[in-house]
Amino acid sequence: MNNFIRVNCTKKNLKPIRDFVSGYLHGLSLSDILTNQIVLAVDEICANLIIHANHEDPTKFISLTIDLPKDMIRFEISDNGLAFKRSEYKEPDIGEHIKVGKKGGVGIALVNRIMDKVEFRSSDGRNTCLLYKKIK
């Protein structure tokens, strides 16, 4: 099964990434809800990389590799944009977002709640996000 996709940084490519992940997950007989959650978590990271880390620059690329270590599924998403600073991340207060009419800032909260482990690594200008989910 093909486990690698590379796309340039436009929001239009989020759909092909989701279709690629859905296609991969299809073979694993997961529930609809779990499949959707996993696709969502990958979509959220890719959207952040495309929009925030690479400013939708179509000359830049992100790549995604999926593999299946024991009882898990792992997604490795890489780019050369601005690194995500986890130390500056704060869990959103949704009530406050509603009050002030804030549009963004809940994507990483979804990823953290869906995935079992989320890692961000950076070295030599290359950033990698690793997402792990137990599937057995």
Partner: protein, 114 residues
């Protein structure tokens, strides 16, 4: 499949039908729809989610960002016909407790008249 948004005004109610996937790319269309000043003429906004197959944080964020404005104007925002996997995304963030999500059109009408 691109996102398709249609609306059907009926007296004081407007039914907005979402068809497709609401992601970081397509959610701008929803934002335009909900930002239209015309929408403030209605007292009930019913959102038909039957053919909404996917929602990401960008789509949720659009609803989050308009909710207070509608509440302040005493406009009821009610979601109906939502697929279970989509409802689950609202639930992960606890939005099902902050927004009104009902099973079907009849229930949406009942709740909108309360």
């Amino acid at each position: 499949m691109p996102m398709k948004i249609t609306n059907e005004p009926k007296d004081t109610t407007i039914i907005i039908t979402l068809d497709g996937e609401l992601d970081a790319s397509s959610s701008v269309l929803l934002d335009e729809e909900l930002s239209d000043p015309e929408i403030m003429k209605y007292s009930k906004i019913l959102v038909d989610c039957k053919n909404l197959h996917y929602i990401s944080s960008a789509g949720l964020g659009v609803f989050i960002s308009h909710l207070q404005r509608f509440e302040d104007a005493q406009i009821k925002l009610i979601f109906f016909n939502m697929q279970e996997k989509v409802r689950n995304v609202f639930e992960i963030l606890g939005l099902d407790l902050l927004m009104t999500i009902v099973s079907n059109y009849e229930e949406a009408i009942t709740v909108s008249n309360e």
